[in-house]
């Protein structure tokens, strides 16, 4: 579904991604782990069109039947149309909009009113707290609620591929567990997930496959269960030997 082919990305003058390749197949959950500053967020921003690669291609298949297309030159607002939804780092909720407005803005490109209402109901069923706070300013929500809102908002565009940037950041263990339960459910309904996490234990436990990004290059990749046993991954990201 997503095939990133040797991309090189600069942030200003900094050479952040130095030839990254990564694949996500339909239906998969793929995790991308790595230390701070490795370029994880940059990679996601390049996928969703906020940044452009200097070199390389990003092939994406907007529907099962269609051919893969290079989205590296398409603008962010048009990439959403292709069913690729990016839930940004730090959640990026619109704090002065109400919870309801935040969810509806997630469906900004859709015009099927009845279906939007159905999806809105469904997200409220998944995250009942959002229904309770529908009329409140989103800025008044707690961190965990904001994360749920951000995930719910990303789902309102009916994505085929959901890209999540550190959804567990700053959340307590119980909330994280709930959140990943919901994400697993979303995945079982056919949404492919690409997840960036610092919490490597969580990410490897949750995903099918994983990539390790280190200073702009993919150093290790493979099945998540294999990576969880890999000596170098354990030393660097899983808190050493047990």
């Amino acid at each position: 579904m997503l095939d990133i082919d040797n991309i090189h990305v600069y942030r200003g003058k900094t050479y952040v991604l130095q030839g990254v390749s990564l694949k996500v197949a339909a239906g998969e959950i793929v995790a991308l782990i790595g230390a701070n500053g490795a370029g994880k967020t940059t990679l996601l921003q390049t996928i969703s069109g906020l940044l452009r690669p200097r070199r390389g291609r990003i092939l994406y298949q907007p529907a099962d039947s269609s051919a893969a297309m290079d989205i590296s030159t398409i603008s962010a607002e048009n990439i959403v149309k292709l069913g690729l939804s990016h839930c940004p780092e730090g959640r990026g909720i619109f704090s002065q909009l109400t919870v309801r407005e935040n969810l509806l803005v997630g469906a900004y490109l859709r015009s099927d009113k009845a279906a939007i209402q159905r999806d809105y109901r469904r997200i409220c069923d998944t995250f009942p707290i959002l229904a309770e706070r529908a009329r409140q300013a989103a800025g008044s929500l707690s961190g965990g609620e904001q994360e749920m809102l951000a995930v719910g908002r990303a789902l309102m565009s009916r994505p085929r591929l959901l890209v999540l940037d550190e959804p567990s950041l700053g959340l307590g263990p119980i909330i994280i567990k709930n959140l990943f339960g919901v994400l697993a459910e979303i995945n079982s309904q056919g949404v492919t997930i690409l997840l960036v996490e610092q919490n490597a234990v969580m990410a490897l436990d949750f995903s099918h496959r994983a990539y390790v990004l280190e200073t702009g290059r993919i150093t290790i990749s493979g099945a998540s269960t294999d990576l969880a046993c890999d000596e170098s991954v354990r030393c660097a990201y899983l808190g050493g030997k047990e």
Binding site: E77, N78, V80, G92, F94, L97, G106, Y108
Partner: protein
């Protein structure tokens, strides 16, 4: 000093405040979305005034058609200014945009002098608009009533648009976070252009009112309302539309009341008093009356 006299001053203040508010809205909207202090905004008032002159006096069109014409052409002027001057500067430091807006302002003024001459022109509305209406001790012209009511109507319409429509939500989302707005699929170029169009249309209508109120227009008339509306936007809390409206009325009322209530020898210092009020308000409320702290976004 009778109650009637004070009531009259308040009405005058509301009329002036309506004009400031209309211009201040555009200032605030544009700052809220692109963090640009647009000093060319006052010159759109001037353009609106001259378009009114042309449509009303030269072509003799009926007043509602003139108002509509001003709205549409000034919206177009706003779009041209945004696309021509500010879009190429997108992402540049704030001060670059500020200087670009000064350049646009000076250019518009000089184009005005070039094509319209610096000679002030008399401006008169048809007689039925000039008719004086008296309610008790308070009297005003029919045009003043139209100014006040249409300004308030336009402001209500705008607030509804921002609150309820798809474009309004897109504008608020873009004002808060441009990148995330794009991730939602919002076309930010179109949203920014729309906010320039709306802000400029309102400024154009303020130009129509300016001509109607003061009876004389020239290509440099935009400077004073531009500056004062900027002040109004700051008082109200720049970035906030209701704030801009409140700021406009605070400024309009305080200006008229200073002149009306102080001994005549001080009336020449009214702008000094007005700016003193501004400083006092900002000392107490550094972000303006309804302002929220906005982070700089270069």
């Amino acid at each position: 000093m009778s109650a009637g006299y004070i009531a009259q001053q308040i009405v005058n203040g509301l009329i002036l405040g309506s004009m400031y508010a209309l211009v201040a809205i555009g200032f605030s909207m544009i700052y809220g979305i692109v963090r640009l202090i647009n000093f060319a905004h006052g010159d759109v008032v001037m353009i609106g005034a001259f378009i009114t002159l042309g449509l009303l006096q030269k072509l003799g069109l009926p007043f509602p058609v003139v108002a509509l014409g001003v709205l549409i052409t000034c919206a177009g002027v706003g779009v041209l200014i945004e696309k021509g001057a500010f879009r190429p500067m997108r992402g540049a430091p704030q001060v670059t945009g500020f200087i670009a807006s000064l350049a646009v302002s000076i250019m518009l003024q000089n184009l005005g002098i070039l094509f319209l001459t610096a000679q002030p022109r008399n401006f008169s509305f048809p007689d039925y608009l000039q008719k004086v209406i008296a309610i008790g001790p308070v009297s005003f012209r029919f045009i003043d009533l139209i100014i006040m009511l249409s300004a308030m109507g336009l402001m209500c319409a705008l607030m509804l648009l921002v609150k309820k429509t798809r474009l309004g939500i897109a504008m608020r989302a873009t004002a808060e976070n441009i990148d995330v707005a794009r991730l939602m699929g919002i076309n930010i170029n179109r949203t920014i252009t729309a906010s320039f169009a709306i802000g400029s249309a309102l400024a154009g209508i303020a130009g129509l009112m300016w001509g109607g109120k003061f009876g004389q227009i020239d290509p440099l008339l935009g400077f004073v309302p531009g500056l004062k509306s900027f002040v109004a936007a700051v008082i109200g809390g720049v970035g906030s539309i209701p704030g801009a409206i409140i700021g406009g009325y605070v400024l309009g009322l305080s200006e008229v009341l200073f002149v009306g209530l102080l001994p005549p020898i001080y009336s020449a210092y009214r702008d000094a008093f007005v700016f003193l009020t501004l400083i006092l308000i900002l000392l107490v409320m550094p972000n303006g009356i309804l302002g929220k702290r906005l982070e700089d976004r270069a």
